[in-house]
Symmetry: C2
Subunit: 501 residues, 2 copies
């Protein structure tokens, strides 16, 4: 068994290296690449993605898996070797269903769609992006057919980001959350004037903002020997190994939350990747459990930590020292309320905790309709604006603030958005457990100590890498699968207090 | 023929993409990678290099070449298709002679030698590097045997960097140049005080130096839509396509020439890569003709342009405006002489035009002796210092300033150094022709106009990509193969005037 396992690891290692090289091509494209480099880079990315796919889906990997499955059948479920074989099998079977020519076509299409989306957004002109999105939706329908599904075609795409989760489950959860959010949002809407958001829209020096994000990252435990932060138009996190994890952020001189909470969010992803065990490197077990689980980490650091009162007890004096001019006259309570201001808005990544998931529901609705042919691509801007009116009672002034705001569709990530909400719900479910385990957690935050929380996450989440599904982790840690009661309870308590409802 | 040509292009394109991705892994390692990322990155680089080699040396490429050679035999030598087939065959046959196990062993050895060299240099302790260099020399002997040679084993290694050039040719050229440099250097040595180098060692603000290098790059025609500049410990140029060319430079606060002439040098490489034709992309014809030809471009922009009087007529007022404080009291003539100061020194990359090639001769001598078993690795530091004493009349204080100063041996680049000199000689041979073709070239420089020179280089050198050898280009452009009379005449005229000999 040892020989076969080593051979499997060797083959998976090559596929992994190719995938990481493809990841670097992409990171570099967003962070460093000169504008004219896009076309050749798209070809390089397509080649690397295809070769990574080919290396992973070789017949020999399947034969080794078959032999190893027989030889490892008595190992416990959570054993590292058993998990390597189980997870590789799961991902292998999915990947094998996609023909290499299709993978190449998808990579090439999205390689061209991304710059087209960038231009379209800059000019707020959906028409420029429309033919690319048409092609992508068509490819995604084919992808769902290749992958197979029981109920709805969207299941197949969702499963790639959140293994085991179905469209029907997401729909049920969303319907329930939406129902409960409606009265809360309505009540807050009556009292919007209680919170002064303008204090965060003063002139915040860009270099100081950047330095402040670095300070915050160091404070929460991000290791700059094993990572870095850069700037990009669309913030994201990339990992080239558990010793090389890269974050990006975006600085808006007149909107403090953009960089700061963006950094905390990506920092949460980064801490997760840094916590992946050495022994999982160059195997499918490296990294995070799923997109939703990843988002539970980023949303936890961004919101449950970064938008908590004790967090700002610690950071408030530092905030004042850094931004002496802009911070003038802002007391701790004003700042705490400002970073938690609820305000229906056009842009998802600027959304507050209460309205955030409504943005996701909008995208989920449109994606399922597009995939199932119930909505034409040309109708997207109209449908976007109408749904936003329905959910948030506002309508974007143009497509740059509407259907063109997110990069996801241009890179072919259909089925991805729901994981933002699932992760948000999961983050609160986990955080309740962490507070039970560490009763003085908030007192620690107020002293700038985040090591106990990070240790708890390392022990309960990070050290398992890609071994379990979100629901497996939820059940192991909290005794029940993903639920939204914790999330809804948290929102109601927090915002009832802030808005004095 | 068209089908087979397309298939060949497709296969070469994949090998090319893998090579470029490997190049990005390396660029990123030197420019961005956090310190702890090295170990996993080395594995990724080894995988990509091996796969690029495998993709290029597939049997199928050989079969396609064989068919295409028969079908293309009536095409003229310099036809694009004929050249693609000829150059691919040349490089393919060389690559095929190296057994994959050998390529892997070499990659593994140099992967370990590079960090060992870094440590050894930092501690100025040759003993730490010695066992690695022993292994590398042994592998390079085997490599020469695999590749085959007529006369001397060094021929095989030199040919990888400068196709068609032999050890005997280099030896003849070097002997002649050395003989002629000796009296010139002797005469200058009597009058060293004529030039005041201290003006360049004042306090030059780092940000201003950086901005000044960017200004110079724009002025000479480097297109930032298709390229960028970054900082790294060892300056270098990388090309990911002819639309994405990256330079690096190094800024020394107390030594102005480091960044400025480093930038002009890499800028010369960069302009060459930017001039490679679109239709050669993703084939072996993309890029530059050879290492020596590449160096002819970098040395031309660094020295023949950047260290000329008319160049400084244009840049002097800008220099004064940028470095108001440091430039105080430096007149144009003082500045011109300072950037041309001749001073025997330990470090090759800081060497002036007159002594530079003596540094190369030293390395050439040691490399041939090492390869042919006439010098033991343990004897290298002693031989280095003795040869430097003999050539430059100085002896380095330690190995960091001596045998450990260059990265080349640690990455297995034996046979590379001579191309620096060949390129230097070639640069003057070419520049004489350019001045004949553009009689007011220097007047243009004095007006900050470099487009005519760049156009001449595009037409005569750049547009041919990797199609010809250095000597083929030399003969096409100047009517004779590489010669050193132009170079020696240039040096004597220029330095006789500066030092009033």
């Amino acid at each position: 068994m040892e020989n076969k396992l080593n051979e499997l690891r060797e083959r998976l290692g090559i596929a992994h290296d190719l995938g990481k090289a493809a990841g670097l091509l992409d990171w570099d494209r967003q962070v460093n690449m000169p504008p004219a480099g896009a076309e050749e880079r798209a070809k390089q990315s397509a080649t690397l993605s295809r070769l990574a796919h080919e290396a992973f889906t070789q017949d020999e990997v399947g034969r080794l898996l078959q032999d190893l499955e027989a030889e490892s059948k008595d190992l416990p479920y959570d054993d590292d070797t058993a998990s390597l074989i189980r997870i590789t099998r799961r991902d292998y079977d999915k990947a094998r269903r996609l023909p290499p020519a299709f993978v190449h076509e998808l990579a090439h299409t999205t390689g061209r769609a991304m710059p087209a989306w960038t231009r379209a957004r800059a000019e707020s002109d959906f028409k420029q992006f429309e033919p690319h999105l048409e092609k992508i939706i068509e490819l995604k329908r084919r992808e769902a057919d290749y992958l197979g599904y029981q109920d709805r075609s969207y299941d197949a795409l969702l499963d790639q980001f959140e293994p085991g989760m179905t469209t029907a489950q997401v729909q049920t959860i969303f319907d329930q959350v939406r129902k409960e959010l409606r009265p809360l949002l309505g009540a807050i809407h009556e009292r919007l004037e209680v919170v002064d958001g303008s204090v965060l829209r003063r002139d915040y020096d860009e270099q100081k903002q950047w330095d402040f994000t670095i300070e915050a990252l160091k404070q929460i435990g991000f290791d700059f020997e094993r990572g870095r932060q850069d700037q990009s138009v669309h913030p994201f996190t990339s990992s080239f190994s558990n010793h090389d994890v890269r974050l990006t952020t975006r600085v808006d001189r007149n909107y403090f939350p953009m960089a700061f909470f963006g950094t905390l969010h990506e920092g949460g992803h980064g801490l997760y990747e840094l916590g992946s065990p050495d022994e999982f490197e160059r195997t499918p077990l490296a990294g995070g459990a799923s997109y939703g689980t990843h988002e539970s980490q980023s949303r936890m650091w961004e919101n449950l930590v970064g938008r908590s009162r004790p967090f700002w007890r610690f950071f408030y004096p530092r905030f004042c020292a850094t931004f002496a001019e802009a911070a003038r006259g802002i007391d701790l309570e004003t700042l705490y309320r400002a970073v938690n201001r609820v305000q229906p808005s056009y842009i998802r990544i600027k959304a507050d905790e209460v309205t955030y998931n409504l943005h996701i529901m909008l995208r989920f609705q449109l994606e399922t309709q597009l995939l199932e042919g119930k909505l034409a691509v040309a109708e997207v801007p109209g449908a976007w604006n109408a749904t936003m009116q329905d959910l948030l009672d506002i309508s974007p002034p143009d497509d740059a603030h509407g259907a063109l705001q997110d990069v996801h569709w241009s890179i072919g990530a259909i089925g991805y958005f729901p994981t933002y909400s699932l992760g948000t719900f999961f983050s609160v479910q986990l955080f309740e457990k962490a507070r039970e385990a560490i009763p003085d957690l908030f007192e620690q935050f107020a002293r700038g100590e985040f090591g106990a929380l990070l240790g708890w996450l390392r022990e309960n989440i990070h050290r398992h890498g890609h071994k379990f599904t979100l629901n497996e982790l939820a059940t192991r840690i909290t005794g029940e699968p993903l639920q939204t009661t914790s999330y809804l309870r948290y929102l109601k308590e927090k915002y009832t207090e802030i808005y004095d409802l």
